[in-house]
């Protein structure tokens, strides 16, 4: 499998990403909390640039012990959002949070010294 250079590890700060165009493939490579994640940049919905939007934590309802609604907050789960229509994907898995049967194609990321590659 061909490997494509992404960036120097020292150049990528927490929360950074790169879009790698390799032949006919477009891959979004994320660096977050010490890990790299790489997914197809084509949204499962209508083909939008899924990896080019906002990174934002998951919104959750706060439900009290008596099952009453107590408001909303952000959880620790990180999502990235397709900027075309707002489809949200879990950063760790690439799963579409609105329908877990849908997911973005995942790619492996390898580090060689200070160089980061994605296996396209």
């Amino acid at each position: 499998m061909p490997e494509c250079f992404v960036a120097k590890a020292s150049e990528m700060q927490d929360g950074d990403r790169r879009i790698v165009v390799a032949g006919s493939a477009e891959i979004g490579v994320f660096y977050k909390d010490g890990d790299y994640f790489a997914y197809s940049n084509y949204c499962v919905h209508s083909g939008g640039p899924a990896c080019e939007g906002l990174m934002i934590n998951r919104v959750v309802d706060v439900i009290g012990p008596d099952r009453s609604y107590q408001g909303q907050t952000f959880s620790d789960d990180v999502h990235f959002v397709c900027p075309w229509h707002g489809y949200e994907f879990e950063l760790k898995t690439g799963e579409c949070v609105g329908d877990r049967r849908l997911r973005l194609k995942k790619f492996d990321v390898v580090r060689r010294g200070d160089d980061i590659f994605v296996v396209a």
């Binding site: 499998m1 900027p83 229509h85």
Partner: protein, 407 residues
Amino acid sequence: MDMVRSEVRKLAAEDYSTAQHLEHASQQARERNYQDFLIVDVDAHHYESESYKDVFEYIESPVIRRQAVESAKRGGRASMLGGQIGYQDIGGRIIRHELRRHDIRRHDKLGAPHHRDVGMTLEWMDAMGVDYSCLFPTPMLFLGLHPQVEVEVAMCRAYNAWLCERVLAVEPRIISMLYLPFNDPEAAYKTVKDFGDKKGVVGFMVTSPRYKPVHDNAYVKTYALLEEMGKPIAFHAAYNWNDQSLSLTNRFISVHALGFMWFNMVHMTNWVINGLPERFPKLKVMWIESGLTWAYCLMQRLDHSYMMRTSDCPSLKRKPSEYMREMYYSSQPMEKPRDRSILEATFKMINAETQLMWSSDYPHWDFDLPSVIYDLPFLSESGRRNILGGTAAKVFGLDPKPVKKIP
């Protein structure tokens, strides 16, 4: 190690452009050979509020013009035109709404002789593979809720005059169905009289969130005039979060899903039950931005009741659904059920291959691409071409030759 030729892009807000944002749409357009056939977008938008300074200069009343100009200086404080509660950009997740300021700056720097909305509109049209777009305003979709009818009329006339002069007159690929000030029936009639023959005016549009019944006799002469001119009347959906029923909803998803169907369901019901299709048989009627499922539902509801209550609607000679099946519908936001047979049944119900017209609603948050229609496996080739542009070309009188320039 194997190597392939590759390039790496960083994402910088200041580099944002519509063409880049829609590059995947352009890929679809090239892969599907959109260059070879006509694509007409019957519902697209611009943000006329970005040009209010210019538009206000077209307000005929010197008093209302001064009120508008002065209130616009107050920024975030109360304005004369008001607004609608909502967060369409999903808390900033639809990033083009914020990043378009870079596009505006870029287009302003180009120094084009025409208004920047012309260039900005053509940019996304070409990126998607669209030949003609029917352009509508955005905040003015709620102007029918304004408590001062004379302000709706004044703003409607100003906007229509500005749009005709600054946009439609200079760019043949941009067309419009002009805003009708429906809360003042006489002004609505005068609007058709005054603007019906302007370049690029292919019909007239009623913003649906409002509280005037479409079967009021006060509108009869306007319908007759439109029928005589061969210009369609369109009802463009939107919501009103202050509507008594819709105010019970607590999230935008709810008020949007219901509101964009609700007002058109009410207007359609009144239109059919009061026999307007019998009284104006040649008037072309379009229903915009309610998706498709509302019609599928309403046809069955009305037909069911009609058979028992024909005395409620004695003008009808056929079932309500038969009249509805002769009207026109825009496609967006097209529902996409996992079971494709449900969508196919919806298409069949409205005679989609001759009555449905594709629409993007771009740049709004839930826009559709032409591929939502192009990729449907159950359409005939002629039906596909009709929905994507052929039907609109007939209704609007457009040249069917493709003119787009896909990047």
